[in-house]
């Protein structure tokens, strides 16, 4: 019905959202950024056996401007926390965060003066990966989960502006009520 009958054969129609999400999900470039033990497994994920290139994520970018995904791979110390926050702020939207391993997720075995108990206290996290360190397969599974999340997003309401909208709505409603 409609448009499909008008266009010549061999042309498909779809929504802009699914095309863009398809592109984003298949070329999520991670930030070249390692913290501790988990970074070694992150590198192992990038090498031949585990081959992160199957996900289109083999291009680890050293510059936060060119990266879409921050993999927080390891424990976050008090001294490192402001740096991570700044790097995250430098990444351009849309951006996603994977907290790799228990230290980045919740502090892990290091509940002491030096380590922040989970990176989600300074930046928003999309996927948490358990393990100490997680195996490369776990990280790939986290990428799978991230793709599911990416597929649900829409460009009409960008993730960040969505949050702002949400905030604005909450502010407005009590006034009107």
């Amino acid at each position: 019905m409609g448009l499909e009958q008008k266009v010549p054969e061999g042309i498909l129609t779809t929504t802009l959202d699914s095309v863009i999400n398809w592109g984003r999900a298949n070329s999520t470039w991670p930030l070249l950024f390692g913290l501790a033990c988990c970074a070694m497994e992150m590198i192992a994920t990038g090498t031949a056996r585990h081959d992160i290139a199957r996900y289109g994520s083999e291009l680890f970018r050293a510059s936060p401007r060119q990266a879409d995904l921050m993999i927080v791979s390891g424990r976050v110390s008090n001294k490192m926390a402001p740096v991570i926050k700044r790097i995250y702020d430098q990444m351009s939207a849309p951006k996603w965060v994977i907290a790799m391993g228990i230290c980045a997720s919740a502090g892990g075995p290091f509940n002491n003066y030096a380590i922040i108990q989970g990176v989600d206290k300074i930046i928003p996290v999309d996927v948490y990966v358990p393990g100490c360190p997680p195996r490369p397969e776990s990280l790939l599974y986290a990428l799978d989960k991230l793709r599911e999340k990416q597929a649900r997003e829409s460009i009409s309401a960008d993730r960040l502006s969505q949050a702002e909208e949400q905030l604005a709505i909450e502010e407005i409603i009590p006034l009107g009520a």
Binding site: L32, F33, G34, L35, A36, C37, A39, M40, E41, I43, A44, T47, A48, R49, A62, P64, G74, R75, S77, N78, K79, M80, A81, P82, V83, K85, R86, I87, G107, P109, F110, N111, N112, Y113, A114, I115, I116, Q117, K121, I122, C132, P133, R135
Partner: protein, 624 residues
Amino acid sequence: MPLDVAPISRSYETQRTLNPPGIPAAAPLPTGETDDTRRIRERFGDDIGAAGLHNGNQVVYVKPAQLKALAAFLRADPQLQYETLIDVTSVDRSHLPLNGDDARFQAIYQFRSYTRNQHLTLVTNCEAAASPAPSADHNETLLPHIDSLTGVFRGADWPEREVYDLMGIQFDGHPDLRRILMPKNWPYHPLQKQTPLGGEEVPFTLTWDDPEFETLGAQILPAESAAPDLPPGMSRENMIINMGPHHPSTHGVLRLVVELDGERVVSIDPDLGFLHSGFEKTAEHKRYKDFVYYTDRMDYLSAMANNLGYCLTVEHMLGLEIPERAQVIRVIMVEMQRIASHLFWLATHVLDVSGTGMSLLMYATRERERILDLFEMVCGARLTVSYIRIGGVWQDLPKAFITELKDFIRVMPQKIREYEAMLTDAPLWQERLAGVGYISREDGLAMGLTGPMLRGSGVDWDLRRDRPYSGYEGYEFEVPTSDRGDCYGRYRVRMEEMRQSIRILQQAVDTLPSGLYKSNNRKVSAPPRAELDVSMEALIHHFKLMTEGFHVSPGFFYHGIEGSKGELGFFVYSDGSAKPYRLHVHGPSFNNLYAIDHISRGEMLSDVVTNIGSIDIVLGEVDR
């Protein structure tokens, strides 16, 4: 402005263990005498408090006024020739019963004579401060102080800064006494005993209204970071650039402040501590057997070696005999780990130097994955293995392990030849490495470098051969050295070390005896699971071991092993309870990284990257 990071004291974390009467106790004084202690006594007389052997190490107590003179004497005297200061650490004895005139803080130095194959531990009391510390660092307690040894041993620089940072001991005459690991505006010294472990309360509740949740997130600092200072000695006349802590070729979260004249390096000031995780403080709150799991996470590229170094130290203090089979298994694991660590060094080094050359990363990690498979076979983990335990190893080798290992040993030499064919004679590789990062033998010794860094400068020393442990005296292998002193020399040393490790592996596989894989001493090593079903005694042992742990008699001991990056030393001070009173780790990367300023001066900026790769650092171990 001091930070608002009031540490929380958690009763369930800091509970004292059940102790027999007389515990805790301070370390006993050394007994007996050796040639060296006799010689020191002759020269210094009454300034030596006690001297002799303690836990098999030579220990000398010296009065603080004579510390510097004694250190200079140790180095210069032709009968002593202690060329290197391996390590500086300290202990806060405020929780120990002390006599009236005993000082609260003790500084402990480890000296090594490579020519005479001797090790000496120097202990000295720190004088209490008479007036507030000049560098008003927001600390209410007055800092104790002691003479700095930087004038005698250049390598004392960073270890002394570390002691100042974590323990709060002032070193008089230190040229650059700043914090090294903690942020510069950190309000207290974490290793002092009155400072709690910190961290956050673990909420045991599911009700959001519970006041337990109020402490969540209380530990986070204000977002703005401290304004960066110009490191001392640097001039704004030159260009100052910042490498890291997020930089692809600093091998982790290392920050280098580089002063440049054009593209030539004038000086470098490394900024450490971005991965400081408080291992040493955590150890004071864990039972001996429980700290093994933390050692994995220090040098995460050679977890087995960390396990072994820690276990050997505690086992020596316990006087524990390790079964023959366990020792050979340990050697197999540690040598495999050395190869894995060197492969990773090679992969990242080549990646750094050649920019986009990914092929060697892929090849080297291909072989490394085989080693990780073997680790997985024995303990289920790839990286953080915790396989070597106090008393032996966790489990016996599975049946298929030896066959797989033999295949690996067969294949590996050919692979090393492949890597060398790609690199050794390649003009690009030589141009980037040869003559870059030169360090002389004398400088290397004065800076306290160890491992391939020292062997690459012509010092023929390997702890496996010269102070053997775990039965290394029974293996035939060579210690490769190079007189070049540059990155290329160190490259050749490490490549040859991989070959020698394969030789050791081959001998270990051939001579692997049958028997116990862990000690039969039930006070230290848990009984096998099957025994618990039939033996009440085994059940009691298991219960005691898991709830209380085992006690280590009061005293202290330093033991170093040859890790893949250099001398990996563990210093344990026991007060007789089931937890270490003080644990210090001598990470080889920490001391080796100190050389980065020296070897990079006058070279190009791109050579700094080569030098970092050539030093082979792991930040988990540098920052601990």
